[in-house]
């Protein structure tokens, strides 16, 4: 596969960001390769309604 890129003018004004979190990336510049992966687990079982029990290990 041939992939040709021509970068002309790139001008950005002001940037306002509330938060960059959990291995997120905010970059101004060129980059060769980027690999991002994210896993977030909040299953129904994670909501434990009932008497107090210690947080038990999950399988």
């Amino acid at each position: 596969m041939e992939f040709n890129v021509t970068n002309h003018q790139l001008c950005v004004g002001d940037i306002q960001i509330t938060g960059v979190a959990s291995s997120a990336l905010f970059l101004i510049g060129d980059v060769q390769t980027v690999q991002l992966s994210s896993a977030f687990d909040t299953p129904p079982e994670s909501l434990i309604i009932g008497p107090f029990v210690p947080v038990s290990p999950e399988g």
């Binding site: 940037i15 509330t18 960059v20 959990s22 990336l25 980059v31 992966s37 107090f52």
Partner: protein, 134 residues
């Protein structure tokens, strides 16, 4: 390989926490990793919890990276050698995040979060009663 120059007027961040980085200048490699156990517990006291990453599957499962099936020949021509940005204001940078100005070779970032909530039943019921009285 790199030919463009990043020009930023100003950069401001209130908080840079939990192994986060604000990188100004060229970088060859960035490898970020964040593991988190987020425990929410409705209780008057919050003592220590005896839980470990190894107890949960999410921290063990291998990450899936799509495979490249054919070689990609890339060619870049930068007719304008600058990336211009005005003022940057970031309130918070957290949990192994990276805010960078400059060119980077390779970046790999990973995040795994396990969220656990514990709510006692009795307290939940009384709260509903209270809200209906209002």
């Amino acid at each position: 390989m790199f030919s463009r120059i990043s020009k930023v007027k100003s950069i401001l961040s209130d908080t840079v926490s939990f192994c986060s980085t604000m990188q100004i200048g060229d970088t060859s490699y960035i490898d970020g990793n964040a593991l988190a156990l987020a425990v929410q517990k409705k209780s008057e006291t919050f003592g220590s919890v005896d839980i470990q990453f190894k107890d949960y599957d999410i921290f063990k499962r291998p990450i899936y990276i799509p495979r490249l099936y054919e070689p990609v020949n890339t060619r870049f021509s930068n007719s304008n050698p600058f990336i211009r940005v005005g003022n940057i204001n970031i309130i918070g940078i957290s949990s192994s995040s990276v805010v960078g100005v400059g060119n980077v070779g390779h970046i790999r970032m990973e995040s795994r979060v396990k969220h656990i909530r514990q709510v006692p039943k009795k307290v939940e019921e009384t709260q509903i009663e209270n809200s209906s009285n209002d």
